[in-house]
């Protein structure tokens, strides 16, 4: 009897050990089979036992959208927030001046009913909607609009994004206390008409007007809460389709429909439940049990969600390798830089790291930015750099490397010891992949060193790095300038022709301006300091009962206004 019991318990123990072992090693495999089992019916994998955790079940048409954030937002103040992720909440709570259309291409009236500009895009005139109200029922006035600009340009607010408003004439001087309100390019012509003057011609200014960061805040609330505006559920007054009713810090947020919203009639969603967690297992489990309407799927997990409704969202974002020619003797040689650029096989890299070869970047500006005559910039500018995906190029790379090394009188062995490849923890796989390509194609093996963001950032801005992999550039507006201006601003590249071209572009509009940026792009790329890697892309699994969710590739990522839950 006793023996038998002992045998049973030991069996259980062995099982327990096996299960825990499986948990250690076999996670992805486990998931794959699950998706396969699900087949067509993956929408309802929960089975009959569903009721316990979440009372949803029967009434599928309940207008609740279940969303997630990876990190606790520091604030939802449009004028202070600098997190792309939190921008989604900002735009749901605060009505932007204009709203992006759901396809992300155009704009539709929002807080402003009309937008006009002069011929050279320096004066932008907007008409404030009559009768628009804050969530507390008070009117949204021109004072709120103008006051929002004055507030962010006051250094006392401590907004880390104040510089984004320097696009407005006189804004920087006002921020520095060198100009007064009358010199600022923000004027209320009358109670309904706002005139914004930009510091220079700005034909992409509409992308500022649709941004969450240009959504006015109530001046009464701003005065009351100061720099804590937007940091708690009761410290903000909404103007957008939703208002915040609960914020359990670092845990969850609840948004509910704002009945005082000017277009409330067209908002069907009643509630948005937001879970704040970065634990991917937790998020996947929630999605499986219908506790999330949307899930961000990483490149590695894509196969596992093959049967789900997956939306690919190509971001206006470029990652690149950056060389430092100023302090590193090897990288000071342009032939060596070009050799390294060629030996980096972008296509293979994009396939390996992102499982999609088409994301390989052969230019600085991603697909989706307007070019000449309303076409696509990237298509028109074409592939500018070449690389080892064309096998004959490898020979040329080796030749360049040899010549370059001869010029500076060094050997490959010395070069491999001469510098290290620097990257963030998140870019380690990328760096190792590139390290491997340089080794196979050129016989050079530089070490990879992983650094903290706060260590790498000053190295980049002060120019004390050697070779940084995985750096990125995205833009709040769909314009080539957003992907190259930073090179000029950082001032590390002291080249008169380059500087002249950038300055010229800032005086131009339309196709002329675009053409100048095309020239600048070619010039930058032919100097082999910024070596494009890939264009970024996100994948989202979305439940089939979600309709009307807008996903954008620049600025804030989602618009919930027109979301409806069907079935």
């Amino acid at each position: 009897m006793k023996k038998q019991r002992a045998r049973w318990i030991s069996l259980i123990l062995v099982l327990a050990m096996l299960v825990s072992l499986a948990a250690c090693g076999g996670k992805p495999a486990d998931g794959t089979t699950k998706a396969a089992e699900g087949g067509e019916g993956t929408q309802a994998p929960a089975g009959p036992a569903g009721g316990e955790t979440q009372g949803a079940g029967a009434s599928a048409a309940e207008q609740v959208f279940k969303f997630f954030l990876g990190n606790e937002p520091a604030t939802v103040d449009p004028w202070v927030n600098n997190s792309g992720e939190a921008g989604v909440l900002v735009a749901a709570l605060h009505e932007p001046m204009l709203r992006k259309t759901n396809d992300g291409q155009g704009w539709e009236p929002a807080l402003m009913t009309d937008y006009q500009h002069n011929d050279d895009y320096t004066v932008h005139t907007l008409t404030l909607r009559e009768g628009a109200k804050w969530a507390d029922g008070t009117d949204i006035t021109m004072d709120d609009v103008v006051g929002s600009f004055l507030r962010v340009l006051n250094p006392e607010l401590g907004s880390a994004i104040a510089y984004k408003y320097f696009v407005i004439a006189g804004a920087e001087a006002y921020y520095l206390g060198e100009a007064d309100e009358s010199q600022l390019g923000i004027k209320a012509v009358d109670g309904q008409t706002l005139e914004i003057t930009t510091a220079e011609p700005c034909d992409y200014f509409v992308d500022y007007l649709t941004a969450a960061s240009f959504a006015p805040v109530s001046q009464a609330a701003a005065a009351q809460y100061g720099d804590t505006y937007g940091t708690d559920a009761d410290k903000l007054v909404a103007s957008g389709p939703f208002k915040m009713t609960e914020w359990v810090h670092s845990n969850s947020i609840v948004l509910e429909k704002n009945e005082n919203y000017w277009d409330a009639a067209n908002v069907t969603l009643e509630k948005i439940e937001i879970t704040i967690t970065s634990d991917s297992n937790t998020l996947q489990g929630m999605y499986q049990n219908d506790e999330l309407s949307i899930l961000k799927v990483s490149d590695e997990l894509l196969a596992q969600y093959a049967n789900e409704n997956i939306v690919d969202n190509e971001q206006l974002r470029l990652t690149f390798i950056e060389f430092n020619p100023n302090t590193n003797e090897y990288l000071a040689n342009i032939k060596i830089r070009e050799a390294l650029s060629i030996a980096f096989n972008r296509r293979a890299f994009a396939e390996q790291v992102m499982h999609n070869g088409d994301l390989a970047a052969y230019g600085l500006v991603p697909v989706g930015v307007e070019g000449l005559n309303g076409g696509d910039f990237r298509e028109q500018a074409g592939n500018i750099v070449t690389d080892a995906s064309d096998a004959s190029e490898i020979e040329r790379a080796n030749q360049l490397l040899e010549e370059g090394l001869k010029e500076i009188g060094k050997t490959k062995e010395e070069m491999a010891e001469g510098f290290s490849i620097q990257c963030l923890e998140s870019g380690k796989t990328q760096a190792q992949a590139i390290q491997g390509m340089w080794k196979t194609n050129l016989g050079l093996e530089m070490p990879v060193s992983v650094l903290d963001f706060n260590v790498i950032l000053p190295m980049l801005t002060e120019g004390t790095f050697d070779c940084v992999i995985g750096g990125g550039q995205d833009s709040d507006y769909r314009d080539p300038q957003g992907f190259m201006q930073f090179i000029y601003d950082e001032g590390k590249w002291d080249n008169a022709e380059f500087k002249g071209l950038v300055e010229k572009a800032h005086t131009q509009v339309g196709d002329e301006r675009i053409q100048t940026w095309m020239d600048i792009e070619r010039m930058v790329l032919e100097n082999f300091i910024y070596i494009p890697q890939v264009y970024a892309t996100n994948h989202f699994a979305i439940k089939s009962n979600v309709q009307g969710l807008a996903i954008f590739n620049y600025g804030y990522q989602f618009d919930f206004k027109y979301v409806t839950i069907t079935e």
Partner: protein
Amino acid sequence: MAKYVAKRFVSMLITLFLVATITFFLMHAVPGQPFEITRETPESVKQALYEQYGLDKPLFEQYLIYMKNLLRGDFGVSMKYKSQSVVGTVTAGMPVSALIGFGGVLIGCLIGSVLGAVAALKNKGFVDYFVIVLAILGVSIPNFVFGSLIQRYFAVEWQMFPIQGWRGWQYAVLPIMAAAFTNIAYYARMLRTSMLDTMGQDYIYTARSKGLGQGEIVRKHMLRNSFLPLVTSLGPMCAGVLTGNFVIEKIFNVPGIGQSMITSIQNSDYTMIMGLTIIFSFISVVCYFIVDIVYGLVDPRIRIAG
């Protein structure tokens, strides 16, 4: 006793002062700042931000200002999450962490002690091997594996408990289970070793030769003596409980205090790092102090003199 308490109190203050000072300078030696700076941030804005946060002043002056506020009992407000004060964060998060932590310790201690005691009494028997295996599992399976595992089965697959969140008692079950697991293994192993040690002592033979029954020997002599190391470990354990468990809180998305410390360090949130460090150190010191006194109650031999 009063003299002892007074002495401990003074040494506690010195400890806290040293902790605060060292943390302050170490924290500022780490690169980073509480607000986000990107490659695009112009110098003028950076400058204004440093001034706004008072970080443009010499470090020692910042230190004096902080210490002065601290003496007034003002721990300040988070530099990153501006509506969250240090004290508010602690009072909101600590009870949650404490519930999960003490739940875990209590269950772990109860089950663990019983298992450990039985294992020792039935040395080399089945329960003994069970405890040994359990102890190895408990120590070697990290929390994030066990936590994710029970989440996967109890919440996602069988839907007995919620996956994550904090809206009622049922939300505490899985986190407590996760917290208890390591504790069961830990206490079982500890009590087993301690009991085996005690069993070989001369006074047990004395008790036996006196003619005491097995039950009485176990209760009066063995257990009491075997619990000593357990009591010692309770002090730091309690401090650990109050300061939260980052991994469990993250997996089950529980708004405890464990996450606050980690995120504040990631954010270079100076006031929050300082405040939490000082409060956590205070708790540790107090817990050790209490253990010292309890120690005396359990074992009269080391009752504090004076």
